[in-house]
Subunit: 218 residues, 4 copies
């Protein structure tokens, strides 16, 4: 029976989601990827696909959605605010509920949520994003308290800095030049950290892990 991993919120091939898939596969997990799944049916299907192919629920799931939604508040539309929530928080809930239903009964497994600086601090122009990420973090913490004692490792990663390789926008080459070679978060190093969380034995689990480049101010 194969051991499965599921990475949700995989965007551009060059991003963190892709690097996680590659890393988990290299570790011998049958790895499945899905884009942002904001709907109930998609989430169940994603977990079911893993189960069908591997014969068991995934042992490692990462909810990696985010959109860095930014904009001035006074002209922000309802849809913009709601969409940030739907991607980060509602999706996290759907993923967490599915993991609680399918993974927790087995008494083992890892569920990791990708957070951001905004998960902890709400600053303009990122109010919608911060509200969504704060909600996602609450989902992660609540899940950890409820399902940790049942053997499901829930972790929340605070990604604090610019991720190298993610095409945030066209200014990236300039940003990279100004920050220097390791002034941005290396996606392979991020993937190492996620894998480390999955590798922790349950006698010493981490709930919240912050990751930032050495030059990053905070």
């Amino acid at each position: 029976m194969a051991r499965g991993a599921l990475v949700l919120g995989v965007g551009a091939k060059s991003g963190l989601g892709g690097a996680l898939c590659e890393r988990f596969a290299r570790e011998g997990l049958e790895t499945f990827a899905a884009g942002r799944t904001k709907a109930k049916v998609d989430m169940a299907r994603a977990f079911e696909t893993v189960e069908k192919v591997t014969g068991a629920p995934p042992e490692l799931v990462v909810y990696n959605a985010g959109n860095m939604a930014a904009g001035p508040l006074t002209t922000m539309t309802d849809a913009f605010f709601e969409d940030a929530w739907r991607v980060c928080a509602f999706g996290a809930f759907l993923c967490g509920r599915e993991a609680a239903r399918r993974m927790a009964p087995a008494g083992s497994g890892t569920l990791i949520f990708t957070g951001a600086t905004s998960s902890l601090r709400s600053r303009p122009p990122f109010i919608a994003f911060a509200a969504a990420k704060a909600a996602e973090r609450a989902v992660a913490h609540g899940l950890a308290r409820e399902f940790g004692p049942k053997g499901l490792h829930v972790a929340h990663v605070i990604v604090d800095g610019v991720i190298d390789g993610e095409l945030v926008n066209s200014r990236m080459p300039q940003i990279k030049q100004s920050l220097g070679a390791d002034g941005m978060l290396d996606i392979a190093a991020l993937a190492d950290a996620y894998w480390m969380l999955h590798s922790q034995q349950r006698s010493a689990w981490t709930l919240e892990l912050d990751l930032r480049p050495y030059k990053e101010t905070f």
Copy 2:
């Protein structure tokens, strides 16, 4: 020209919302109340009503919605999770945006959000509520950072304890007996604190105020 106040999320007459209305009216503000307004149109109308009657935007607005949504995660419906968010977080956004549009240009005014213990800590069976309140808090903090320097006082009150007078459920009489006379939050004392926030001069504003009965463990 009258000075106006607007209290949103007024539920049972005996609750905090009602006490706030009474208190603001006693202080001489023309006070308007509205229930939970989760829709764009309702929120604009609520602010407009104040403007029509008093000739100016409200000088004090309280967003006081909450539902203490509780339940086990594995059987929680999508609608349940979304509704908690819509009441606490989306409504807070709508209210904040309206205040930003109408009150901030005047360079003064107060906007207060009612938070809860769950705003800071996500614990089962309150995951949906905690996710919604964490998002609401992020809205409040982001607004404070963006509009505080423009003269709009944004505050977030952490109500930590059982509010006396709010008919939470039928077990209240027993709870009251076990906690004792001032082991619950007195709504008049809460109203004092909200009024105090509005009375602060802008040289020394409070962003976050926690209020709990002296016996409350935390």
Copy 3:
């Protein structure tokens, strides 16, 4: 029998300590002031003086010591680091223990500690100060948890900004000019906040109060 107040850590007459004394006296309390009291004997004597004159322990005590100790770490002396701790944290402990012994048995009274931005965040060149203020905050929070349920109101005020009237240094006039009239914390407004904390009824107490000028970034 007179009601007494005790303000510890009163420095320059123009500072917060002086303003607190003035305000408490105006409210009818027999008010006593003392400088930084880092020694056991001084602290006991300060409380005893109040008791001798008024016939009872003080009903309101403020521990208001701080030195904003700043300097580069590599050349910081042992004495410098220790002195910051002795002023802020050890003095707070002495004050708290004295209050616990003398005020808590009466089942009422207020004990307020003056904190700072550095109480929550440690940034160079304020590492020694931040370490001292973080320790002081822990003293305040521990006292609140232990003696709050016994009727002693313990509060911690986060003073976040430059206090107008405190002669921080010779650059103050320029700072004042750049921040504007109410870009600094008004000491009368601060004194209002301390008095408000003392006035709270025990059904709705505040543990931590942040105060900052509307223009302050945070």
Copy 4:
């Protein structure tokens, strides 16, 4: 030239300090241990010893002191409160300053502080310990902000739970029985986490790592 590690605050052989020494040695570092060093001279000597033997400053230093000082506040002696500070906070300062002087100029290296639940939350009967650990955490965070950008990785580990193998007291066998096989923190798992922190590349550093057994409530 050998690569050196220094572990400060090594207590019982069976404790975390001993396990760290063993682990670092196994990874090929020439590892040195010292007990709690509360004095300036001891700290300098400890670092110098490493330099003399290996020809370079240590590349990895752990400040691992703590005493879980517990007691009722009203009868707590000055010496008791001060000693907790001296062990946890003053020692951390001495260690951090020495690392800043000797390791930071090389532009690399890792400095890890062992924190505790009390680093974040002050609860009786641990007020003295909490004040000391909060100060130590402020030292760690301040160092991270000052010396991280210079290439020194500063991290703070929140050890949240009972460490298996540390002889806290005679009730340990009963505690162990009630918590179960992995209801306590395994020291080898803790040592893994410290080594992982040292292994992180500087493009993605962790400042604060929490570690707790899966059954631990928090």
